[in-house]
Each structure stands twice: as C-alpha cells, then as structure tokens.
Homo-oligomer: 208 residues x 2
Amino acid sequence: MNFTNDDVTKLLEIIKSRRDVRGNHFISKPIEDEKLSLILEAGLSAPSVGYSQPWEFVVIKNKAIKQKVIKNFQKENEKAKEIFKDKELYKNLKLEGIEKTPINIAIIYNKPNKDILGMTSMQKMGEYSVVCAVQNMWLMARALNIGIGWVSILDEKQLLKDINKNENSTLIAYLCVGYVDEFLDEPELKTLGWEKKKKKEKIITFLK
Amino acid sequence: MNFTNDDVTKLLEIIKSRRDVRGNHFISKPIEDEKLSLILEAGLSAPSVGYSQPWEFVVIKNKAIKQKVIKNFQKENEKAKEIFKDKELYKNLKLEGIEKTPINIAIIYNKPNKDILGMTSMQKMGEYSVVCAVQNMWLMARALNIGIGWVSILDEKQLLKDINKNENSTLIAYLCVGYVDEFLDEPELKTLGWEKKKKKEKIITFLK
C-alpha cells in the first residue's frame, strides 16, 4: 500500500493532537464496544521482537478493582507529594482518571519461557514491544476522539496482585480510557510551566 | 480537533501495514531531508512522563561508524546463532540493514538529574517514553512509504561508545531507515513459520 501526502498530514495531526488526559477532562459517556475493539486491534498490530507478541491486555470495568487501584495511587501519590513538597503546583494536579473513566486497561508484559529472536543481546526488547502497543492504542483512541491517561504513580506489585497477576508478569502501563470534554492544545505540564519544551538542537545530533 | 471514521480507517491502515524491514528489502534511494524531519518531528511529539522529554536522536550517516555497528552486530549475532543452532532458519535470516540504508538513527534515553513527575513510583517510565517516540517515528516513516528496521542484536555498551555516548546514556533503539522494494503483507517471522499469531482470547481478558 502506498500512502499519500494527505495521509502523512493526517497522521501528523493525530500524533500532535494526542494528549495525556487527566481526570478533570474525562466525561461519563460510555465507550462503545466496537471502539474498544479498534483500540485493542491497534495494540495487537504493534511490532514485537521476534514476533513474540509478549503482551496481555486486561480490560477493567470492575468497580471494586478500580477502588483498589485508586487506593494504590493515593498511597504512592502521598510519597510523591513529599518529594515535590517545594512545588506548590504538584498537589493541585489531578493526576488520574481511574474512577471517572468507564474503562481502565492494564497492559502487561509476560516474559516468554524460551529464547526469543532479537532478545539475545538486549533483554529489554520484550518490554519495549509492549510499549509500542501502548502508543498504537493511544493514537487509535485519539483518532476515535477518545482520551487516554497513563497512570504511573502506582506500586507495581500491588497493582499486579489486585488484577490477579503474579510477579512473573510486568506492569507496562495502566491506562484510563474515556471520552473527554476537550483535548488541550498543548501538554498541560508545558502550559502550567512545570517543564519547558526542549530545543531540537539539544536532542537531535548528526554523525555525518 | 475532531477526527472522522475515514481518519480512523487511514490510521489503522498505516498501523497494520507497518513492517520491521530487513536488509534484503532496502534499496539505495536517499531519504529527503524534509522526510527525515517529519520522522523526527513525529518522535518529538511523543508523550513523555512529566513532560521530561528524556530522548536524544543520533542520526548516523557516517560510514566508519556504521562499520563499527556492523561489527558489533556480527559479534552478537554469532552468539545468537549458537543459541538458535537447532533452528536452521535462523542463520539464513538477514537481520539488519545498517549499511544498505542511507540513514541509521540511534535513539537514546538520558536519565534526568532531578525528580520527574510520574516517575517517582515507576522509574522505567522514562525509558518507556522514548519507546513511544520510536513507535511514532515508525508509523510516520510508513506513511511516507519509508521502511524502518529495528536492530537489537547489539552490545549496548559498545554501541554507545561507538557513537560517543557514555554509560550514563541508555540505548533504546537502533533504527535502519530507508526506502524499500516492497512492504510485506505480514510479519516475515509469521510467514516463515518462526512464530504463530497468538489468539486474541489468550491475550485480552476482561474484569467486569
């Protein structure tokens, strides 16, 4: 298949308007099953080292489990508040949409129990494959005008226990998935002045 | 911005037709500067934990450096051949396009020297942000009808040394970027019978 300039423009628009959505922007509208399927299909179409497909997607609607995840977040966020105690902004940020979103998805890496092509020198390639799946899902959600927020202020072992996984699994991402009131034009942490945008010259170098 | 059903279809086409391109499919046609810029722009538009933008992109056209990377690959691949000595197919696979592609890109994670929002519980989020950038670049390249092959059969320390990075940097990905004679319809490792496609029921679970 040959793509056109218009396709390039469209993809860049999707990539650039994708946001990490916080809890204050999600609305209660349910996610249609066929849209969830498209998001998962995008994940399943990600590259994986040695075609190992080491991913597992746990779709969570269960309220009791969500409550456990919220507790996990709150505990970890208290530690974070202490770390950032000199920054007034931190404690005012709404950093998760666990309860506000109709769907949470835990994305898991399960280490294969055999040698994998492409993983013999760099073992972390398996985990990285699963991250590629997350990014595919994020872009597909954006094209469907659905927001995703990636929650990482979590104790991994506790989270795995709460979704019935043992410690042979690795938590890659915990996603809150839902419709939104708006997609912000820019990353909120940039707008709020938490971090500045880095200059291209500092992060792209050429060895000619 | 509101995207349409057509946009969703287009994105899914790009996602599904993206391939990990091996050395036997690259052609010698140079990559235009404006297309390289678009690929890098897609990477720079990736999500990053706490807006930390912990990435660095090293664009390599230098032949002497490429030769060092080839040597690195060959040494690591000898070890891999020993691991897969019972699989006749392995040694016949062309697993890299380092020399055949006009551009290689090493994608690096530089750990920030301060606390990062969202990384206080899960330290690996910084690396994962950089992987999201790789996937954005891969999709943009595909929309531009340019192939990317991710080479992971490399000794990380040696690679970093060869591109003048010290051990404070982490190698996330080494990409071979070039035009191709064709994009295969399916992952080659599936077609060749190296691995089977996993069943959805085994990798998607629901907690209702």
